[in-house]
Symmetry: C2
Subunit: 344 residues, 2 copies
Amino acid sequence: MLLSDIPAPSVRPIPRSETASVLERLQALIAADLEETNRIIVEQLNARVELIPTLGSHLINSGGKRLRPILTLVTARMFGYTGRGHALLAAVVEFIHTATLLHDDVVDKSDRRRGQLTANAIWGSKAPVLVGDFLFSRSFQMLVEYGDLKVLRILADACAVISEGEVMQLVVSNDLATTEAQYLEVVSRKTATLFAAAARLGAVLSGRSEEEERCLADYGEFLGRAFQVVDDALDYASSNEALGKSIGDDFQEGKITLPVIHAYHHGSAEERHFWSQSLEEKARIEGGLQRAIQLIRARGSLEYTMGLARQLAEQAKAQLRHLPDSRERDALALLADFSVSRSF
Amino acid sequence: MLLSDIPAPSVRPIPRSETASVLERLQALIAADLEETNRIIVEQLNARVELIPTLGSHLINSGGKRLRPILTLVTARMFGYTGRGHALLAAVVEFIHTATLLHDDVVDKSDRRRGQLTANAIWGSKAPVLVGDFLFSRSFQMLVEYGDLKVLRILADACAVISEGEVMQLVVSNDLATTEAQYLEVVSRKTATLFAAAARLGAVLSGRSEEEERCLADYGEFLGRAFQVVDDALDYASSNEALGKSIGDDFQEGKITLPVIHAYHHGSAEERHFWSQSLEEKARIEGGLQRAIQLIRARGSLEYTMGLARQLAEQAKAQLRHLPDSRERDALALLADFSVSRSF
């Protein structure tokens, strides 16, 4: 068989209406738990200064997918967990995620996220830095209150790995010598680590075996990588409306993501010069983003990127084999498919 | 006795050579412990990305006074603590302090601290935000490793209170309606809270009574307030060289500190207009800083500020009464005096 006989994986995104139903099914499985999580979030956002809940809830209520807390809730439910810790930990996971987003948007000077103005676009960069710190601190207060050192270790470790990943991303930004392996390490650290921790917590809470913990952590790790890789493809493929943020943000910020790495390595000398000018020397080239999108399409870089994402999603699903046959397990498998078929 | 008979408290700062000896005596008491703390700091700064130890050690090794870790070490030593936890917790306290300084300098866009360029002046604002997050996370990893939930609670609570204080400071910045009580609440939260936690840890580690814990926490609280109030006076009184940062930073940033609150409330209508123009409307008035210093001096606002600092230092010393008579206790009393007599 020739390489050319292999059908290129489709990158046509499934419309929001269809994919949204996957999320809705997941949410329906744990509707009461998710409500309790939201109640805890509102309660714990409370602080001595009004700006903290105002700014925090702006982002938390901006229509995020709640994927990370959902992972904790669904995995706990899969094991028949009947305590109340899962909603608390789901809220902590969402707080940690929100804190990293607040700091990310300051660092990237992003204007939009989830179709809304970012906190830094509204309040300037100072408040989101400090409110992010508050959310980290409040997360650890909640964990101390919960009092399980193993859970504390999992999330403290995750936070350290995430911040290392963020610094790593900063170091390789604007550097076209970044390898695919370096890119994947950043993806794993900055995104997949929290997915892995969130999924693992369901098993930890339910006192399940190390093996089941590991399966769920690996599921979360592969799912998180798939999500981030797709995110990086959507930044060159989606429409602004579907994405909720500006298409081409990564290009403007000089982020070296997989579509770029692929297009650069498969590009002509002239194309490489364009990438270098745009991303390394930060030249503002007229029509630069359009050119970038065109080159990425011409070189099959989105297909390559989505192909990797699909592999990652399959690896995620493979981890579910050893877990209890249940509606929850089916939903987790669907979520892995959703991670590559979504358009937002 | 007439009020005018009371001698105005001196604000003449004791030269660095004299006050430095107080710090040196403290450091000498716990030289080996401090060395161990520094070893742990270097070890724990280690990370997957070189920029983290580089940036972190730039600030940590920039000649800070190490006051907060010293408090933990000296109080542990006062109770004859013989374990190894004190050096670890002292390192954690310094990490938390360093993380807040990194974020502070980004938020304030400060160029200099301790006579050196700030991390954001060297590396831009992105890296210090993310490395600060790493230091917070690493602190919690170290605390989890130590494994004492009471210690974890004290420091998680401290972090939350500090970040609330920072947000509070941001909210009241550029607002001359800020009251002395609001100012003192910010001081207590953003600075004194970590002093209180650091001092308290010595008693916690040594398994001492709640009463002794409380005495040390209160000592740290008053000491920290005194330190911050003096800092705020020095910003209008010191020389750039002694201070290690630019004199007038608070004025340029529109921070409403005690000298300003006092001078504003005791100023003429014309003077209030000047303060309002400079701090609320952020007008860049030619010679504005000189005028501000002159008004603060004319209204006796530094004397007032230093008078309050002296009261706070006395309150700190009063907490030491019930603690073991020891060289360490004497050193803590001297430190309280140093907090108001220093010039840096």
